[in-house]
Amino acid sequence: MEAIEFTTPKTIDEAVQAMASKGDRARALAGGTDLLVQLRGGRRSADLVVDLKEVPELNEISYSPGSGLTIGAATPCYRLYANADVAANYPGLVDSASLIGSIQIQGRASFGGNLCNSAPSADAIPPMIALGAVANIIGPSGSRQVPVEDFCTGPGRNVLEPGELLVSINIPAPAANSGANYLRFIPRNEMDIAVAGVGSAVVLDASGQNFVSARIALASVAPTPVFCKAAGDSLAGKAVSDEAIEEAARLAMEDAKPITDMRGTIRQRIHLVGVLTRRTLNNAIKRARGEE
């Protein structure tokens, strides 16, 4: 039988103190859709659970065309897609927020929790990487920023030190003529874990016919989410064409290092990376052109 302490700090300082007091025996609680399941199933244990839902900075969404979007780490998915600024400027994030779990799960699950849980299959991470998101972290020895693509270090592991908290995620304001899309493949239509997922973001020139830049990231095909730098860079400066997209898809497939398990085989997953890279790039291009 395990006794667990529970605390609900009201400020960032209190939260950091609480986390620091128990080191790696303290766990932050956002929506709890990962944490509670893991504690119950015996896959994680903790002496102290620190509820983040009453710390204001962790539960806010703010947007300005200058500084972009800041998502408080504990903000649930439904508040993302219900937010007019997010809906207008970040459809690539809405793709993710509206497919995680189900309506009930989206009422609780946060992007911050998704990132800190650091599952290879996390659906919120690839679009954040594709959009150049940065994680704002605070801890006993101050705050720091880490690009989301550098955040995860292994399945369920990340750069957070014991006692550290994710405060928010910052995403730059969308460039002109830009668009993003996230798609995952699951055998059913909901309540499933990605066999493979791809997030793509593109910036086109004013004509909408040429890539200025692109970023592509993958889910479920490696121990961590994968940032496919080469695949995205291969598009920069090229004309929008099936060949260019095909080449990016090929490079993305090269970056996929999946395993075979009950959810899919290596072959199937690499193949799906190709399919989804093509599809997300095409969707992102449409959005960049304002066609959707």
Binding site: M1, P187, N189, I193, D261, H271
Partner: protein, 754 residues
């Protein structure tokens, strides 16, 4: 639904109407009492320790640390089962059967599947019980497992049971084997039939282990009193079956076991076996306290019955006119860790839809290191139909024949003799095929790339067996109907309707109650599509008994011979004196002053079969890039005999289709190479969700069953039989490759395409 085809000629007042279910309010307001809700003074919580290995010798079990753990009241192992202290001589011919039954409840010398119960603890709380269970030390010698029939049938396969010999057409093999039995059906002359054929096609098929997936996990609470009275509250389809099993395994007098069935959250055949009940009873006997044991979802997957994985071969011979002349069928079904797969049923159903003059069916029951299989909706029939119907579909494709037309040419009808012997009475397969052919779905062309349409037929026996019903008349003219059939799919309503129809009173005036095994006569399981048929029949007979007694009472009150009194539509009247007339209600009010209350009783055991058939049509679209199948449209046609409550018949048809879609597309037990199930949760055991399903259209055909007073056939099993083959064929047409393994999940379809 508007498209239902009603062929029965009789007009009924209550039967055939869509009444409200009596248990509805309790269920939607959360007041219905399920097994997990049972609370008793001094209740202890139990926890079962299970084998982590698929196949291992149990060298020793040390329970001492658990026994002395604070808060623990009892620990049991197989050594506490009576079997452990009974000698082979004492048991005689019972030895082998009781050994297998006891070892299934708690493993003694060997763990035969991951999840096999090894020991159990009863403690003050669930947490204490779990902690104490972890303190039990079990020493295993891990053995290689045999996980599939193909593997287990190899001559050098690891043997599960050293003393299991193949029972082959009545004889036992000389060497022990994983093949528990080999059975065969034969009719006509197979070689001759193959000679007459213009087209002969042979194909091989495999299907995976699948689980019933009921929402409510198994649970059992037992209290064994010091006087030997054993009371059990549980979630079961068959309280009398549980009573028999517990009495048998615990060597407890059957009359001292009372089983109270709680409300049930689904069963589909999987809640007939007594898994937890004997364990809870042992723990209670040892602790002197009531004990509740629950399964987690993982335990449900790992240790309650899946439907068998199979390996099948089908060879059909057909003339150029599309007449089947011969069928040669091989079925090998996984039994799980103990003998008893439904291969016999699979063999009997395989060709039941067709008039096949020359046939041979060989069936093999094979033990493997998986949980023992249990019944699952039409046990054995969906798999067999997948194989046979897929071959028919491919033959139709090769010959350019319409698949419904082909089936009509070969369809079983009255007088046709099945391969295993019985001769059909009036059945409704032809009417179902005609209804399918005339359906708007079948007539609508299917356009667009990557799309395909599949058609398949299916059969289930629908046998009767024993049921009992008591009906007592209340002073206000209502009646209490007491039954032993657990209500899974709305049977309280469908049984009450038959009583009301017979009595000529309103449906609302019949109050049905499901009671414990002390309070009603022997009633077989709610399963086998038998409940509305057989318990309904018992209700009719009990109602007839009430009518007889009501007539006698009226005669006594009017001081007239019984022969002069008639009972029509709930009104008693004198045949010649119009002054003498009483409604059921008026007489009910007078009963207590005129000789006492009236109770009608009946015990029935109807012989013969209801014989249900269904024909399904499905359209699919397959994404060629991902291999994912989307069901675009689905229509299920079925002969219900008489749909007592059409909404519940439609519900059964849709539910069967949904489960069939699961088998066809994604559901399977996924094992690692050590035989451990890797997907024992609803996250990774992929049953269809609401978003994976189209609206499933239903057409009820009514060809009255001549073997039932209201023509009922039973409807629960048939609708899971055709979907596997219908969907497999539809995908085959969509992708241009035959689907011969299920599930046809996206990965498998992608492989087939590459």
């Amino acid at each position: 639904m508007a498209s239902n085809i009603v062929l029965s000629e009789v007009e009924y007042n209550v039967v055939g109407k869509r009444h409200l279910r009596p248990d509805g309010v309790d269920k939607v307001t959360g007041r219905a009492q399920y097994g997990a809700d049972v609370q008793l003074t001094g209740l202890l919580q139990g926890k079962v320790l299970r084998s982590p290995h698929a196949h291992a010798l149990i060298k020793s079990i040390d329970t001492s640390a658990a026994e002395t753990f604070p808060g623990v009241h009892a620990v049991v192992t197989a050594a506490d089962l009576p079997f452990a202290s009974l000698s082979r001589e004492e048991l005689g011919g019972e030895y082998q059967r009781l050994k297998l039954a006891s070892n299934h409840v708690l493993a003694s010398d060997k763990a035969l599947f991951k999840g096999h119960p090894i020991a159990a603890v009863a403690a003050e709380s669930q947490h204490v019980a779990e902690e104490a269970a972890r303190l039990i030390r079990v020493e295993y010698e891990v053995l290689p497992p045999a996980m599939t029939v193909r593997q287990a049938m190899e001559s050098d396969a690891p043997l599960l049971h050293e003393d299991l010999f193949t029972s082959e057409l009545g004889e036992l093999s000389d060497k022990p084997s994983n093949v528990a039995s080999h059975m065969a059906f034969e009719t006509g002359d197979l070689d001759e039939g193959l000679k007459q054929a213009d087209v002969v096609l042979e194909r091989e098929f495999e299907t995976a282990s699948v689980h019933q997936g009921y929402i409510e996990p198994h649970n059992s609470t037992a209290f064994c009193n010091t006087d030997g009275q054993l009371n059990i509250w549980c979630s079961t389809q068959g309280p009398f079956v549980v009573r028999t099993s517990v009495a048998d395994i615990l060597r407890h007098p059957v009359s001292r076991v009372k089983v109270t069935p709680m409300e049930i959250g689904g069963g589909f055949g999987g809640k007939i076996t007594a898994y937890l009940e004997p364990i809870a009873a042992l723990l209670s006997r040892k602790s002197g306290r009531p004990v509740k044991v629950l399964m987690t979802r993982t335990e449900v997957f790992e240790a309650s019955g899946p439907a068998p994985g199979t390996w099948m071969k089908v060879k059909l011979g057909v003339t150029s006119e599309g007449k089947i002349t011969a069928a040669d069928i091989f079925l090998a079904f996984e039994a799980g860790a103990f003998p008893g797969s439904p291969v016999m049923q699979g063999a009997a159903c395989a060709l039941a839809c067709y008039d096949v003059p020359n046939a041979r069916i060989n069936g093999y029951d094979v033990v493997v290191n998986k949980p023992k299989t249990a019944a699952y909706r039409a046990p054995g029939s969906p798999q067999a139909a997948f194989a046979v119907e897929s071959v028919i579909d491919e033959i139709c494709e090769q010959m350019g024949m319409d698949p419904v037309e082909f089936r009509l040419r070969n369809a079983s009808r009255e007088g046709v003799r099945r391969v295993e012997g019985p001769i059909f009475r009036r059945i409704g397969l032809v009417e179902c095929l005609e209804a399918a052919r005339n359906h708007d779905h079948y007539k609508a062309p299917l356009e667009g790339p990557n799309r395909g349409r599949g058609v398949a037929a299916g059969f289930w026996f629908n046998r009767g067996f024993q049921s009992a019903v008591n009906i007592s008349v209340n002073p206000d003219g209502t009646v209490n109907l007491i039954e032993g059939s657990v209500d899974i799919g709305g049977s309280r309503a469908s049984i009450a309707q038959q009583a009301a129809e017979t009595l000529g009173i309103a449906y609302e005036d019949v109050k049905p109650t499901v009671v414990d095994t002390d309070s009603i006569g022997y009633t077989m399981v709610t399963g086998g599509s038998r409940t509305t048929f057989a318990t309904g029949w018992a209700a009719i007979e009990a109602a007839e008994d009430v009518k007889t007694q009501m007539v006698e009472r009226a005669a006594r009150i009017w001081d007239t011979p019984v022969e002069d009194v008639q009972y029509i539509d709930g009104v008693l009247s004198h045949k010649s004196d119009p002054e003498l007339r009483m409604t059921f209600r008026e007489l009910a009010r007078q009963l207590l002053g005129t000789g006492g209350g009236i109770t009608g009783a009946s015990n029935v055991d109807p012989t013969g079969e209801g014989n249900g058939f269904g024909v399904h049509i499905v359209d699919v679209e397959v994404d060629p890039d991902t291999g994912k199948t989307t069901i675009l449209r689905y229509t299920a046609v079925q002969d219900a005999g008489k749909a007592i409550h059409p909404s519940y018949v439609e519900g059964q048809m849709q539910g069967g289709v949904v489960q069939g879609i699961g088998w066809a597309l994604n559901e399977e037990y996924f094992f690692n190479d050590q035989g451990q199930m890797m997907n024992s949760s609803f996250l990774d055991y992929r049953m269809p969700t609401a978003l994976d399903l189209p609206m499933i259209d239903t057409v009820i055909v009514e060809v009255a069953n001549p073997g039932h007073p209201y023509g009922v056939r039973g409807v629960g099993e048939v609708p899971i039989v055709p979907p596997l083959a219908a969907i497999g064929s539809a995908i085959s047409h969509a992708v241009g490759r035959r689907i011969d393994r299920l599930p046809a999940n996206p990965g498998a379809v992608l492989e087939a395409l590459s």
